[in-house]
Symmetry: C2
Subunit: 198 residues, 2 copies
């Protein structure tokens, strides 16, 4: 799903303004953080970016496409995966990194995307493709290194992923209880109890 690059002719005429593009993507995320998906308007993005609405619709087919591309470029890159060699430590750090993200300004972006996904299949698919699936793959791969050592041979890593990240999304979206390191450490221990080799 290339959205942009293949349209940028290298022929005649004024070339695309890459700075404007970056301003638009950055502004989109800012507005999304402040207003949520439903209240993010293209007018607000354009104004914040110091760009024209016409420029936005010149390069993206609709509002959601802008936000999806912004997610891919400016958020989905952020999380390196720890691989310390110690299973418990790997998971602890993974979860701590994630809640640091959720508790920061970007947390609202995730809320916004999940909310929008409920009524827009394109957003739903994009969120899974751009964020959920790659992250799960990476995380599973790191944990896989421990299989047979500290990790039980029969551990179901898909279930483990759900058990680790489900509660975090749950608290983020429902808003009961905070997302602290005390909490993620306790969650880590709960899950570890069932997958540690005895």
């Amino acid at each position: 799903m290339e959205t942009t690059e293949e349209l940028a002719h290298k022929g005649r005429g004024r070339p695309r303004d890459e700075e404007a593009r970056n301003r638009i993507l950055g502004a989109a995320l800012q507005v999304l953080e402040e207003q949520g998906f439903a209240n993010t308007t293209t007018d607000a993005i354009a104004e914040r970016a110091g760009a024209s609405k016409a420029t936005i619709y010149r390069w993206w087919p609709h509002k959601a496409a802008v936000l999806i591309e912004a997610l891919r470029e400016n958020v989905a890159q952020e999380m390196p995966f720890p691989d310390t060699g110690d299973l418990r430590e790997d998971i602890r750090l993974q979860l701590r990194n994630f809640i640091r993200l959720l508790n920061g300004p970007h947390g609202r972006i995730f809320k916004a995307f999940v909310a929008a996904a409920q009524s827009d299949p394109e957003v739903a698919e994009a969120f899974k493709t751009v964020w959920v699936r790659p992250r799960r793959m990476d995380a599973k791969q790191v944990l896989e290194h421990h299989r047979g050592n500290s990790l039980r041979e029969d551990a179901d890593l898909d279930l483990v992923m759900d058990a680790l990240y489900g509660p975090l999304y749950y608290r983020l979206l429902i808003g009961h209880g905070c997302l602290s390191e005390v909490y993620t450490d306790a969650l880590t221990d709960l899950v570890l109890a069932s997958i540690l080799k005895t």
Copy 2:
């Protein structure tokens, strides 16, 4: 937060039509199931209910209030809690009952509420008050019976609730993977491993 009853004067004049009220609440849920929160219009509710929009706004201050009352009256009552005496069986049945609800037509109602809660604090608070908190209280109370017997003395039931229900909401909202009994049974065993008395 009484919304209705105290307004129904018993004085003069035509009394409130309780059947119309029920039709409106029922229609609200139907439309919500089919269209999601954002696309649920008062016109659609009125038409479906065979009622007038004026009647809706006569008794509810705005659209969200109708949907919240419908949630409270027609959904939040549905889930009895199993109390078999066996901890594993209690949890298994709890989760099975819940996914039966989520996989049925009402599943979309939960998606819709969580989505709407992200941009409407009143909906967020109502969802927690009407659904989340009462259910968590009930569930914790049932599990509490086992403490000291099959359940470890030091088990953190808030964390356990998150570990059990977080993944289910996660799968419901993100839409990766199904919500089957095989899945909830596996999840039950994962959580049990950390809270069973050894």
